[in-house]
Every structure is written in structure tokens, then in C-alpha cells.
């Protein structure tokens, strides 16, 4: 390969001659090999493995504070159960409360609906923030902490939804991760994971799962 016999071309015009006239041009392949090794070395040194990511989770110190619910005016209770299903109800648990069914795709609409004021405010804020920053990296670094603080305070407003997440004994770990992820996506700052079930909830669950 270091020398290429191009005699075939120059000899093609002459028919009948068994031996083509050997031309003196031969291609030096050194630069090609050099480039090959260079590219190889470059890619070996610059590829990075994709690392597994983490989710920061801070559990409230005392998850039994569901008594706070009665003082909150916008609450959703999400009961995570078997087969990736969610049973939810709005506001306090009363005799006439209707348990509704959802899955991990449809629950987003439900939460976003309840959290509409907060979401709108956050979107407004984000638009303003992006306008102010205008692609300037320095400004971004400067204004980002303030932006984050303002988003947190919006999430903490009284009208922003408060979600109580109750995984039952059939719920899987990934169900909980998915729901906490939804909290993040839907801009919910107030949520608590609890394992205390009310009598009515247990009754409903028993009937619901019993019929499956």
C-alpha cells in the first residue's frame, strides 16, 4: 500500500500488451496514516462517559405534619399504588370526597391545573430573566441566585399547590422518584412524602385493589 501501481491506467490505452507500462508515480500514504492516528488519539482523549445523574431530595424532618393540610387552601393528595397507578383527591378528605384515577402521564395535567397561578408567575419571571440576561454569561451568573430565590418564593405562596404523596405498600421506588420528578417539572415547591393513611383512604384502597 505504500506504493500504488498506477501502471494500469497508463497502459490501458494499449491493447494486446500483457504487461502494462509501469509508471513511476506512486502515492506516499504516510500523511494518511498520520492523520488516522491523530484522529484516533484525539477521540480517545476527548470522549467522556455519560455519568449517572442524581436528584437532590430533602425529606422534611417530621413527615407526620399532615395536620398542616387543614390550614392550606390548595392541596392535592396523591396515593401511589400498584401497577404504576395514582389515586388522587383534592383538598381535605371529607365524606363526599371523590377519588380519581390517574397515571404518571396524566397526573402532570392535574397538578399543572391546580398550580396554574404559580406556573404562570414562574413563566413570566423566566421570560423577564432571559430578557435581562440576553445570553450574557456573566449576567447569568450574577442574576441566577436571585432568580432561584424568587422562584422558590413563588412556590411557597399560599395559592401554590401543596402535594401530599402517600406511597402504599404496593408502590415501587421508581413510582416515588417519578412523582418527585413531576413536582419539579410542575413547579411544586411544597410537597411531603408520608406513610400515614386515613381510615377512609385505606377503605377505598382496599375496595379499589380488591376489585382488580
Amino acid at each position: 500500500m505504500a506504493s500504488v501501481d498506477t501502471g494500469g491506467d497508463s497502459g490501458g490505452g494499449k491493447k494486446g500488451k500483457k504487461r502494462a507500462k509501469k509508471s513511476s508515480t506512486h502515492i506516499d500514504m504516510t500523511p494518511m496514516v498520520d492523520l488516522a492516528f491523530l484522529l484516533l488519539t484525539f477521540f480517545i482523549l476527548t470522549t467522556t462517559m455519560s455519568k449517572p445523574t442524581t436528584m437532590q431530595l430533602t425529606f422534611p424532618v417530621d413527615p407526620d405534619d399532615t395536620s398542616k393540610v387543614t390550614k392550606v387552601n390548595n392541596a392535592v393528595t396523591l396515593i401511589l399504588t400498584k401497577d404504576d397507578e395514582i389515586l388522587y383527591y383534592l383538598d381535605e378528605l371529607k365524606a363526599e370526597t371523590v377519588f380519581q384515577k390517574a397515571d404518571y402521564k396524566s397526573i402532570r395535567k392535574v397538578i399543572q391545573e391546580r398550580n396554574m397561578p404559580a406556573i404562570q408567575k414562574i413563566n413570566e419571571l423566566t421570560k423577564q430573566f432571559n430578557k435581562q440576561v440576553g445570553g450574557d454569561k456573566e449576567k447569568f451568573k450574577q442574576l441566577e441566585p436571585q432568580y432561584k430565590q424568587m422562584v422558590d418564593s413563588i412556590k411557597g405562596l399560599k395559592e401554590s399547590v401543596f402535594c401530599i404523596i402517600k406511597p402504599d405498600e404496593h408502590a415501587k421506588y421508581r413510582n416515588m422518584i417519578d412523582i418527585v420528578d413531576e413536582m419539579d417539572i410542575c413547579g411544586v415547591g411544597k410537597y411531603a412524602v408520608s406513610d400515614k393513611f386515613a381510615e377512609a383512604e385505606l377503605e377505598y384502597l382496599k375496595n379499589y385493589l380488591g376489585g382488580k
Binding site: S3, M29, L40, T53, K172, I177
Partner: protein, 208 residues
């Protein structure tokens, strides 16, 4: 400029070079994880920290593994100190060889009574088989070894670094939430006192 024909034909050398590179690219494998875990996915893009983390793993069968990844504190021997502390607490002794192995190994997935046997196993596969027999670090209320490991790690790390270690929980997506909840409850006890921790997830493709 007419190029003179090379005295030595390099073709075979180049061919061999490419052949070897291709061979090693296709046959190199990553070091298999001691405990295979299929983590759930999330939108979070925060990366797993690398140094000085207290790493608790829960696999599909609900077995708990304790690990402390030494980074900057390697020379300060946090793992050795934790082993010494646990060894006094449970009255189990280890040979020098076993102690050395402990420092180099990553996850411990056996009760402390079987730890010596675990450390004596020769390879990753044997260790996995051994761990499967003993069902991970026990954490039931009568024999809460997990709690002792956690307390010992926190105490020893604090002694050298004057700070709390980062705590990371890696659990398989299909584990019952109640198992994870039990471990989290142990984190939240007063003696252990871990209320902030990170959970390892795969990066979810955006726009689902």
C-alpha cells in the same frame, strides 16, 4: 519532486497497528459493578459526586450494600477507622490481609459476622455469589447493622474532615417503596441524623 521508493515497506506495521487497535476496542469491557442496579430515570442533570461519599445501594432483591468512596480523604483512612470501630462493636476480628482488602474494596453487602469470609473471596463473581447467600447488610430492628455502619462512617469522617459526608442512595426502580422507606427512616433516626441525601437516577430523555 520525485519521491524515491521507500527502502522499508511500512504496510504490514500499519496493518498490524490498526488490527490491534480494533481488537482492543472491541474486547475491552468495563469493570462490572459489584451490585447491578437498574436505577429509575429523572429529569435531573446534577452529577453524582465522586469523592468522599457515603454510598448506600439497594438492589432488586432489597439487599442493602454499604460503601464509602474515599476521594480526598484516602490518606486519612476513613474506611480503616470504620472497620476498626465496627469490629470492636461487634467483637469480630480481622487479619491484616482482610483489613487491606477492605480498604481497597467498594461495597460491603454482608452481615458483619460473614464479613471475613466475604473479604477472603477471590473475585467479583465469588463475592457476588457470597453476598447473595447472606442477603446484604441487615437493617431490621433487632439487628440493625446498617445503622451502626452509618453512625460509624459519620463519626469517623467527621473526625478527619470536620464535616458531614455526602450521602447518596442508589436503589433499583423495581424495589418496593417500603424497603426504601425503611432505609430512609433509619437515615432519619436521631443517632444517624441524615436528612439530606441524593438519589441516583438515569437521565431521562427530554420531551416525553
Amino acid at each position: 519532486m520525485p519521491k524515491s521508493s521507500p527502502a522499508l515497506d511500512m504496510t504490514p506495521m500499519v496493518d498490524l497497528a490498526f488490527l490491534l487497535v480494533t481488537f482492543f476496542m472491541l474486547t475491552a469491557q468495563f469493570k462490572p459493578e459489584e451490585v447491578p442496579v437498574d436505577t429509575p430515570s429523572s429529569q435531573s442533570t446534577m452529577e453524582v459526586p465522586k469523592d468522599d461519599i457515603l454510598f448506600i445501594t439497594i438492589d432488586t432483591a432489597g439487599r442493602v450494600t454499604w460503601d464509602f468512596k474515599q476521594g480526598k480523604t484516602k490518606q486519612l483512612g476513613v474506611r480503616d477507622a470504620v472497620l476498626a470501630s465496627m469490629s470492636t462493636k461487634y467483637n469480630v476480628t480481622f487479619t491484616e490481609e482482610q483489613k487491606e482488602k477492605f480498604t481497597k474494596l467498594s461495597g460491603i453487602a454482608v452481615p458483619i459476622e460473614n464479613l471475613a469470609g466475604f473479604l477472603d473471596q477471590q473475585g467479583g463473581d465469588q463475592r457476588k455469589a457470597y453476598a447473595e447467600k447472606y442477603k446484604g447488610v441487615p437493617y431490621d430492628s433487632l439487628n440493625n447493622q446498617l445503622k451502626e455502619w452509618l453512625v460509624a462512617t459519620r463519626v469517623e469522617y467527621y473526625a478527619v474532615a470536620n464535616a458531614q459526608p455526602t450521602v447518596v442512595l442508589k436503589a433499583d426502580g423495581n424495589v418496593d417503596y417500603s424497603v426504601v422507606n425503611d432505609v430512609i427512616k433509619i437515615f432519619q433516626t436521631d443517632e444517624v441524623g441524615i436528612n439530606r441525601f441524593k438519589m441516583v437516577t438515569d437521565l431521562e430523555k427530554s420531551g416525553l
